[in-house]
């Protein structure tokens, strides 16, 4: 697989963007998706500057027809789908359980859970007939531990962990692998929004054993490894990349 075809959701910022660059540097053909045309085209230009073939497909992962379309466009353009990185996610609205509503729940779950479900569904539609493929979902350290004031986000990432394991079992033996990478505190716009103030961010970092944030590239490099043939026996696995956070 000298030049695998890679689809990345939530590719325009943070970890998704770093993953797009990491795959482009390895010579992959890359389909980046997200909700903003201008940033999407800018990213494509950057990836092409690295010598990669790249296209942008505007996609809202909450919509079945959008997810179907991005997979169809990928196969139409490149003839196959080898690697899918389901990274699109939202931090949702922080707050106590007593402050949550059906709306705040749906805002988070529609992207983080339904989005990953629909993405896997359509990616598997392309990968199963090939008899090969590698799906990497992106959850969070909060996919395996709780956090006061973040119940909805935590629940959504626990759901991603559960869906990953179930999907891996469903397709085990077909040549398709499904795994999940669980980043800890990573230096992204999402973390800045999630922590809201510099003081909150510093307080969170102080709880991380390695006492610093991850760079998006440090997460992307693990995603690229898990996606690659170097991890060919790995399926149904959750890989923490969190500076020791959940080991503590």
């Amino acid at each position: 697989m000298s030049s695998p075809v890679v689809l990345i959701t939530g590719a325009l910022t943070g970890i998704g963007r770093a993953a797009a660059i990491a795959f482009a540097q390895e010579g992959a053909r890359v389909v980046v998706s997200g909700r903003r045309d201008k940033q999407g085209q800018e990213l494509v230009a950057e990836l092409q500057g690295l010598g990669a073939e790249a296209i942008f497909v505007r996609t809202d992962v909450r919509k079945d027809e959008d997810v179907r379309n991005v997979v169809d466009q990928t196969v139409k353009r490149f003839g196959r789908l080898d690697i899918a990185v389901n990274n699109a996610g939202t931090e949702g609205s922080r707050g106590l359980v007593t402050e949550q509503t059906a709306e705040s729940y749906a805002d988070t779950f529609d992207t983080n859970v339904l989005g990953v479900l629909l993405s896997m569904k359509h990616e598997l539609r392309a990968m199963l007939p090939q008899g090969s493929g590698s799906i990497v979902n992106v959850s969070s350290a909060y996919g395996s531990v709780g956090a006061a004031g973040a119940s909805v986000y935590v629940a959504s990432k626990h759901a991603v962990e559960g869906m990953t394991k179930s999907a891996a079992l469903e397709v085990a033996g077909t040549g398709v692998r499904v795994n999940v990478v669980a980043p800890g505190t990573t230096d992204t716009g999402m973390l800045t929004r999630f922590t809201n103030t510099d003081a909150n961010k510093a307080a969170l970092v102080s709880t991380v054993p390695v006492k610093r944030l991850a760079t998006p590239k440090e997460i992307a490099d693990v995603i690229a490894f898990v996606a690659s043939a170097n991890a060919s026996y790995m399926t149904g696995a959750s890989i923490p990349v969190d500076g020791g956070m959940i080991a503590d």
Partner: protein
Amino acid sequence: MSDQVVLITGALTGIGRATAIAFAREGAKIVVSGRHDKEGQKLVIKLRTFGAEAEFVRADVRQERDIEKLVDYALSCFSRLDVAVNNAGTEGKPGPFTDQTAETYAATFDTNVLGTLLSMKR
């Protein structure tokens, strides 16, 4: 545990029903909830045969209004709430990922996740 006020969602069958009976035998005051009036009233009668005070409130845990009314009713009957068992759940529609849709997803998550979230909130 006697005299504790206990609220149980999904109380009409299975684990929820067994839990209601277990609390009734220990002398708790019980509010059972579920979506079927007839079964709810039958369960209340059964719980009272154990000497327990029991009430049924029709509630769909997917509806925040229903849960608010349920908790308010428990408070109006017994003036406190000591134990809440958020048991309402559905097995959803088993099937491979490639058969799932936004609708099958919502049918399961609305009850199992949103329902528990709203119940804890109230």
